[in-house]
Symmetry: C2
């Protein structure tokens, strides 16, 4: 299998290097190709998502992505900023389903700001729609009739877009606790009203799943108050962006959590949910766990190797149980030493 590695900016190259070592240990026959994206690609080629990176992502069996972004590029026009790489890859590869598991690893109870018993109860997956919503609608700045500047972005979802992400939500719930909570703002938004109606329609095909609906403000509250009550959450692109980052923090360090972005046919892009962390880039301090766990998701969802994914996840848990900790977890291991600790558990 060919795995594309798009390391990106900041700590991206450091953490994907460890994930690659783990993948090599799993199967020496894997092939790897690497291309710069984000700010790194802008500096080299004048654009954040050069054609050869996109071509590689399309050709590969799966994509391992690091992180993009650096404040030095904030003043560029939107299509030249590092974020355009990730938004472009999602759109071009049709990666409409973002899976973001959040769960506390044993031993990391102190890393969460939540009380121990609350943090321990978290074991949920957020299924976030990734190629629609206000992210990809018509947007711009214009002058109003009164001569004022105005910024605008159109939020929208079609029936078909909602139906396919709802199915992923229900299917994910079927592999877990069979509870699905659909999050919207149907008391205010027509986009949400359509969302809710379509989700209710899809529910007919999944009679074993218990479906509930929650307004996004209430969901943000319940994720703090009683996160253990959630099994699977399905929501739109914007609400999913906010809630998944919130949930990840409830579960402890953002350095621990992976994500998958999938299209309908097994192609996927896998990335840590953390950013490029320019402040610690190049210092070998970054936690590689999220990237390594993203590699595990890659094996499970794109290469049909669930057993190998289980092995990696167990190795991460074992290493943590033995006390392996990078700085974000209160320890002092370097990125590479944390990788070593996990590799040694892989056996």
């Amino acid at each position: 299998a060919l795995i594309a590695i798009l390391p990106g900016d900041g700590i991206g190259p450091e953490v994907t290097a460890e994930a690659r070592r783990v993948l090599e240990a799993i199967d020496p026959a894997f092939g790897f190709e690497t291309e710069p994206v984000g700010g790194a690609a802008y500096l080299e080629y004048g654009q954040p998502l050069p054609p050869q990176a996109l071509e590689l992502a399309k050709r590969a069996d799966a994509v391992l992505f690091g992180a993009v972004g650096d404040p030095q590029f904030d003043a560029l026009a939107r299509p030249f900023r590092p974020e355009a790489a990730i938004l472009g890859l999602r759109k071009e590869l049709g990666l409409f389903a973002n899976l973001r598991p959040a769960k506390l690893f044993p031993g990391l109870e102190d890393a969460s700001a939540l009380k121990r018993e609350v943090a321990e109860s978290i074991d949920l997956v957020i299924v976030r729609e990734l190629t629609g919503d206000v992210y990809f609608g018509e947007k711009g700045q214009r002058t109003t009739a009164d001569g004022e500047r105005e910024g605008y972005d159109l939020m929208s979802y079609t029936e078909g877009e909602v139906r396919r992400i709802a199915r992923v939500g229900f299917e994910t719930a079927m592999t877990r606790g069979r509870k699905l909570c659909s999050v919207d703002k149907a008391n205010v938004l027509e986009t949400s009203q359509l969302w809710r109606d379509v989700v209710i329609g899809v529910a007919a095909d999944f009679p074993e799943v218990e479906l509930t609906h929650m307004y996004v403000d209430n969901a943000a509250m319940q994720l703090v108050r009683n996160p253990g009550a959630f099994d699977v959450i399905v929501t739109g692109n914007l609400f999913g962006d906010i809630l998944s980052d919130q949930a990840s923090m409830c579960a402890g360090s953002i350095g621990m959590l992976p994500s998958a972005a999938l299209n309908g046919s097994g192609k996927g892009m896998y990335e840590p949910i953390h950013g490029s962390a320019p402040d610690i880039a190049g210092e070998a301090k970054a936690n590689p766990c999220a990237a390594i766990l993203s590699a595990a998701m890659l094996l499970r969802h794109s290469l049909g190797r669930g057993d190998d994914a289980d092995r990696i996840e167990a190795a991460v848990a074992d290493a943590l149980r033995d006390g392996a900790r990078t700085a974000d977890l209160g320890g002092s291991l370097s990125t590479g030493a944390m990788g070593d600790a996990i590799l040694s558990k892989l056996g």
Copy 2:
């Protein structure tokens, strides 16, 4: 002064009754008039915001609002749902600035899901824009060229809308810790890009305030990880809805937190941030503290009686210190008995 009371649905009438008793104790000369809104008004007059309620709200010096909403009305067309009352009042009275303080009262450390030291550190105000954004843009459902149903809502802000809420943010920061964090999603949204540019412009008039910018997903994370780092947050209507509910939960029970919705000239509507809680309505179990603290904000912001507001806030803190607790706080006092406990501290 004439105070309009709009009790609304569920526990709204119970909690506003206690707030009224407190206001009467502060000044027997206050006048009160009451009108139904929300589901209660729909049942009586066929509309959630009848003309006489709106007229009263306009005529009064300030408005004390309870809560609206009941699932029995969810299937009605949007203009007939209880929420239309609150959205209509905000728009008609021009209440563009929503102040939502979040702070843990001493003695309630156990009520927060956050670790004690994290919860204790919270003392922030969210300044939420309340009459623009995707809440009030063009919205509807339509059929796409492919014959699919589509829901849409236009998100937008004009320069002038951002400028006036930014000023409230900076002014609020000047009365507190002089730190303002503006929350947006400028890496994706043009509305946010305009927001950020305008906030930076307004900053020139407030050189003593330290201004920072944060993406909304990161803000949701930091509100869990290190909420004590925030002083004042200024943000748009939608992000403010989500973040203020999240922050309130970090600070403990949602039964404790008040809010103010202000226009540019002292007129304001004051309401607990909790909802109508139909499940406990009529059982005299609701916590009246949020409504009573909303009455304190009313005195401070609309009637220029900051000293009386301070007295009420001290009385609530005193009652809690003495162990007065409703069910949501782990106690057994009824709504009225909690009101009594606070009144007795007012002296």
